[in-house]
């Protein structure tokens, strides 16, 4: 059938435009009289602002205005994700106390960015430095400096999960293994940094704010602006134009978002701010940083009896996305495995560093690391194969829906909806050539370049609520427009959501167009994050398209005088099956539904307009899963790690567009390679960032990412009409754990234990040196 679009690797409709440089990003938008912002940022990790002298900056050529953290009082940013035990501190625009290096303390607006930076260099700020603490372990100690002077300690929240009796089961377990692992802090690092253009106008006597933002959450921004500026939502229009990647960095609402909109009103001119790379690395949210001490108790035949995990999580100076990341970690440590007794306690610490919030994976890679490394240790201890011990402990296909006994991040019981983990791993073993690699590894084990094999399986809660809506409309030209509240940062929604509608409406896909990321085109929207758009927006598109189809057929019955059993919808036309000359096109249907000439009566059997809006409200998260197999070669002399083979098998439920899904997984794995081997945002003890450029913060480039085999093994989700599961973050989840396992495996002769990521060549080399030195 020609219109079976779902499941086809339809070419991404946006690529031509974007590859030809015709994208419209924030920095491409021009407005008459556009002024440019540069921020003056704190060089101290913790300090009180004594005085700001803006006068010299105001005299710099081209400077239009200088605004600083003295004399202006703003409210703190709203807390986006409350949590039971959270003692929340959110950022105050131009607050009098700065809590991490890079917090804005003044802003200069000028005719261009060059002059704005000249002005920023001329602002003089007098600080009273306060003691600062950058490390979470130190922040927890008695007598540590206080991150926020008005708080009695540095604890942001404590998180606890408890299933069964973990302590008791551990005590009785015949086999107990331990694992300690620290995970380095990473930056989201999208190609396009953050950016914002704000412009005010007056309509019907009311001020109106129009913001173009590189954001994942336009409707949320609209709501926050309304709250902070005391305006009604109708007065605020937030639009995300082309957005060049986000990975979480463009999810929270930042102080710059507020200040740029505010200053545009002060000046009465449109104002733009484009974050530069230094600012991005310094101020856009980071993630991952956690330290775990975990223990697993097992039977002698390798069945998990209990897991106990205690961890510290760093949230930096604030909680821009609540404590979602460590909460997710705490709920996902058991992962795809049956863990009858589980206890987890996480302490979330404030530090005088850049805030942490979700980055692709959002706490799940940490969880996958803990459980998979514990299983690796257990396999070693019991002399069983890494795959075998996993097979022994998987939740089985017939166990779904599986009650984990945990409380999910939404505060409801956590239930896994579907999956087939045994088959996932079996497929991986075959496709990845596990047995062959094992043989090759044995042959090469005595060489200077031993091989190592690593394995990990992880799950991801995806497609979360509360909702996403879609309006599907047929225009008078017969073309279909979809409007959703989601926002694309390169995921290919224009293609995948169009596929869903085109299939239901049996129309050529190039006649279906997507509009998203615009707060004025649809009243509500949640946004694009947490691997949710295909599931939630995709389902809404499907439901709206189905209703629209129904409406079209009702109208066609009326116009053609034939019952719908005898009608066929295809190629933008409804035909009488027995007499194809009797037909009506979508354009004609749309025309009819718009009503006859003005002043006449509307008598058709459907509501006016060929347009339907539906919201999908998922009943709960659907669980995607991935199993990864990685083979590395380690140079014993230099410590260099080379990935020689990478295979991943994923369960993303129903695939709308397999090529796009594969691309998402490849991207996620690339991120995982960075997390495991290269990337780390580092601060010194005083809270100064040591990795402020891409020469020091090492992202994997195309040259560092190997070819990989990505396969799909779908179990459709019962929780949404598409059967889809989220996929945007999946690749990033098991990958760091699989890679670390592989490196450790290559160093078997050295009995090396790797207890921190990223695993740098220097650390590998150090383990080898230690092993070779006489005890």
């Amino acid at each position: 059938m020609a219109y079976d679009y779902v499941g086809q690797s339809v070419r991404r409709v946006n690529d031509q435009r974007l590859l030809r440089g015709q994208g419209q990003y924030i920095a491409d938008i021009r407005r008459p009289g556009l002024a440019h912002v540069a921020f003056v940022r704190s060089p101290h990790a913790h300090a009180r602002i004594i005085a700001v002298d803006t006068a010299p900056a105001a005299r710099v050529s081209g400077v239009l205005g200088v605004y600083a953290a003295d004399g202006i009082e703003f409210p703190a940013l709203p807390l986006l994700f409350p949590y039971r035990t959270l003692d929340a501190v959110t950022q105050i625009p131009f607050g009098r106390e700065v809590h991490h290096v890079g917090e804005p303390v003044a802003m200069v607006v000028a005719e261009n960015r060059y002059q704005a930076e000249d002005g920023a260099a001329a602002v003089h700020v007098e600080y009273e430095p306060l003691p600062a603490v950058a490390e979470m372990k130190r922040a927890r100690q008695d007598g540590a400096p206080r991150v926020h002077s008005d708080r009695s300690g540095n604890l942001a929240a404590s998180i606890m999960q408890n299933v069964g009796d973990a302590a008791g089961a551990m005590q009785e377990a015949p086999i107990v293994v331990n694992c300690e692992i620290g995970m380095g802090r990473v930056s989201c690092a999208p190609i396009e940094t953050r950016g914002l253009l704000a412009e005010w106008s007056v309509r019907s006597g009311d001020p109106e704010l129009h913001v173009y933002a590189a954001t994942q959450t336009p409707h949320m921004m609209q709501r926050i602006y309304a709250e902070l500026l005391h305006l009604s939502e109708r007065q605020i229009h937030v639009q995300a134009p082309d957005v060049g990647g986000a990975f979480g960095a463009k999810e929270p609402f930042y102080v710059e978002d507020f200040l740029v909109a505010w200053v545009s009103r002060q000046l009465g001119r449109p104002v733009v701010w484009i974050e530069d790379r230094l600012e991005h690395l310094l101020t856009s949210v980071h993630e991952r940083e956690q330290f775990h001490q975990a223990q697993m108790g097992l039977t002698r035949d390798g069945r998990i009896l209990a897991v106990i995990d205690r961890f510290l999580a760093n949230t930096g100076a604030y909680v821009p996305w609540g404590v979602i990341v460590p909460v997710i970690t705490s709920t996902l440590i058991p992962g795809p495995y049956k863990v009858p007794n589980y206890f987890c306690e996480g302490l979330v610490m404030y530090t005088n560093t850049t805030p942490l919030a979700p980055y692709r994976g959002a706490g799940r890679p940490q969880a996958a690391m803990v459980i998979n490394r514990l299983l690796d240790r257990a396999a070693d201890r019991l002399h069983v194969d890494a795959a075998a011990i996993r097979q022994r402990n998987f939740i089985q296909p017939e166990d779904f829906p599986y009650q984990t006994g945990l409380i999910s991040r939404e505060g409801t019981p956590m239930v896994l909806d579907s999956g087939d983990y045994p088959a996932l791993l079996k497929t991986l073993m075959q496709a990845g050539g596990y047995a062959q690699w094992q043989e090759k590894k044995t042959r090469q084990s005595a060489s200077d370049r031993p091989l190592g094999i690593g394995l990990a399986v992880g799950i991801e809660n995806t497609g979360m609520g509360p909702h996403e809506g879609a309006t599907v409309t047929v225009g008078s030209d017969g073309q279909v427009t979809i409007v959703t509240g989601a926002a694309s940062q390169g995921q290919g929604h224009e293609t995948t959501l169009a596929q869903v509608a085109a299939e239901v409406l049996a129309i050529d896909i190039d006649r279906v167009h997507l509009v998203e990321g615009d707060s004025q085109r649809i009243a509500y929207g949640t946004g694009t994050f947490a691997s949710r758009t295909a599931v939630v927006a995709g389902s809404a598109v499907k439901m709206a398209s189905e209703q629209l189809r129904d409406k079209m057929l009702t109208l066609a019955e009326h116009l053609l005088g034939t019952r719908r059993e005898f009608l066929q919808l295809a190629g933008g036309t409804v035909r009488v099956v027995s007499d194809p000359t009797r037909s009506v096109s979508l354009a004609q249907l749309a025309e009819a539904a718009s009503g006859p000439f003005p002043g006449s009566s509307y008598t058709l059997p459907v509501d006016p307009g060929l347009s339907v809006t539906m919201f999908f409200t998922p009943p709960g998260a659907t669980y995607a899963a991935g199993a990864h197999l990685v083979v590395v070669e380690v140079d014993r002399d230099t410590g260099q790690v080379n990935i020689v083979a990478y295979t991943a098998v994923h369960d993303a439920g129903t695939l709308i567009n397999p090529q796009i899904v594969t691309g998402q997984i490849q991207g996620g794995i690339s991120g995982g390679i960075g997390t495991a081997l290269l990337e780390e945002m580092r601060f010194d003890e005083a809270g100064q960032l040591l990795t402020g450029t891409f020469m020091d913060y090492l992202l994997p480039t195309a040259l560092d990412v190997p070819d990989m085999t990505v396969l799909h093994r779908a179990t459709p989700s019962p929780l949404n009409p598409l059967g889809a599961k989220g996929v945007g973050e999946s690749g990033a989840i098991p990958s760091p754990s699989a890679i670390v396992a592989a490196v450790e495996d290559a160093l078997k002769t050295e009995h090396a234990v790797l207890d921190a990521i990223p695993v740098r060549p220097s650390a590998v080399r150090q383990r080898i040196r230690m092993a070779s030195e006489p005890q």
């Binding site: 060059y114 260099a121 230099t638 410590g639 020469m695 020091d696 090492l698 060549p761 220097s762």
Partner: protein, 299 residues
């Protein structure tokens, strides 16, 4: 990340450039920066680590300063020769093969298509490949000013991190390298965290054999070990007169490298760099030796 305001001048000839430079520096007392490929200078300007009054663009002198020629066993390279030319030029591949090999480690294609040998030497990053090759082969730098011309050997050219003997009114115009002698081999071995990054350690070697196949002459230089490239040739002189096995070279280098004390940074601590230096210099010497053994006279 935008540079401060500066005046931009683009002379068309070397004579004009030298005279304008002299005028600005010596007579008007202005801070002038020369712009070659811009691959190191532009980031420095954008981060405002340098705030010159005038930027003097040398790219108009490509015709005068872009050539590569051989003359009496010496290879003359114009300061504006681009990295990619050094990587691919037949004269370089034949007479200074270690330079062509080194170029593969310099950044990425886009950087190599703009960056120049002059810029690379004057920028003087102690981890950079071309300063290392200049040290290994004892290249000579020709520095010109309106008032004259001087020749500085590599051993005296690099002063410390990002500092050379070039005076503000001088332009580096040409670099001269000896062509590789008969029965010789050259090699460079590098370790960087990602391909195209500056080296954590880099070693370059040249071995020349006598007619009987023993080492007549051995040279070795190390990069990324301190404020300037290290000339280690006198340390490996003990190889001369021998026919060493790879394992002996490795042992010797492990000993020798214990004497160097590289600084650590966030990417690698001192002991690890030292470790790498021993491994890479042994690999470079061994490869150079093998190449020398396979040396054949070319038509």
């Amino acid at each position: 990340m935008k540079p401060c305001a500066f005046e931009f001048l683009a002379p068309k000839t070397l004579a004009e450039a030298l005279s304008v430079l002299w005028q600005l520096v010596e007579e008007e007392g202005l801070a002038v920066k020369l712009l070659a490929g811009g691959q190191s200078l532009m980031p420095v300007l954008n981060m405002r680590l340098s705030t010159p009054d005038v930027l003097l663009d040398l790219n108009g002198l490509q015709g005068e300063l872009g050539d590569i020629v051989i003359n009496r066993q010496q290879v003359h390279i114009g300061a504006l020769a681009r990295h990619y030319q050094l990587e691919t030029h037949p004269l370089i591949r034949r007479h200074v093969p270690v330079m062509a090999e080194a170029e593969r480690w310099v950044g990425h294609v886009a950087i190599r298509s703009r960056g120049t040998i002059g810029g690379s030497l004057v920028h003087a990053d102690p981890a950079a490949e071309l300063p290392l090759v200049a040290t290994l082969l004892d290249g000579s730098m020709i520095l010109q000013s309106k008032n004259g011309c001087r020749t500085v050997p590599a051993a005296e050219f690099f002063l410390t991190y990002l500092m050379t003997t070039v005076e503000p009114a001088e332009i580096l115009t040409e670099i001269i390298f000896p062509a590789m002698p008969a029965r010789s081999g050259q090699s460079i071995e590098e370790f960087a965290l990602r391909h195209g990054d500056f080296a954590l350690a880099v070693a370059a070697a040249q071995i020349t054999l006598d007619e009987s196949g023993r080492i007549r002459h051995s040279r070795l230089a190390l990069g990324a070990m301190g404020p300037t490239p290290l000339d280690m040739s006198d340390k490996v002189a003990q190889l001369e007169g021998t026919r060493p096995e790879a394992a002996e070279i490795a042992e010797l280098m492990a000993d020798i490298c214990r004497t160097i004390e590289p600084d650590g940074d966030i990417h690698a601590d001192g002991p690890y760099r030292q470790d790498l230096a021993a491994v890479l210099s042994a690999r470079a010497l061994t490869a150079a030796l093998q190449r020398a053994q396979g040396w054949t006279e070319m038509a």
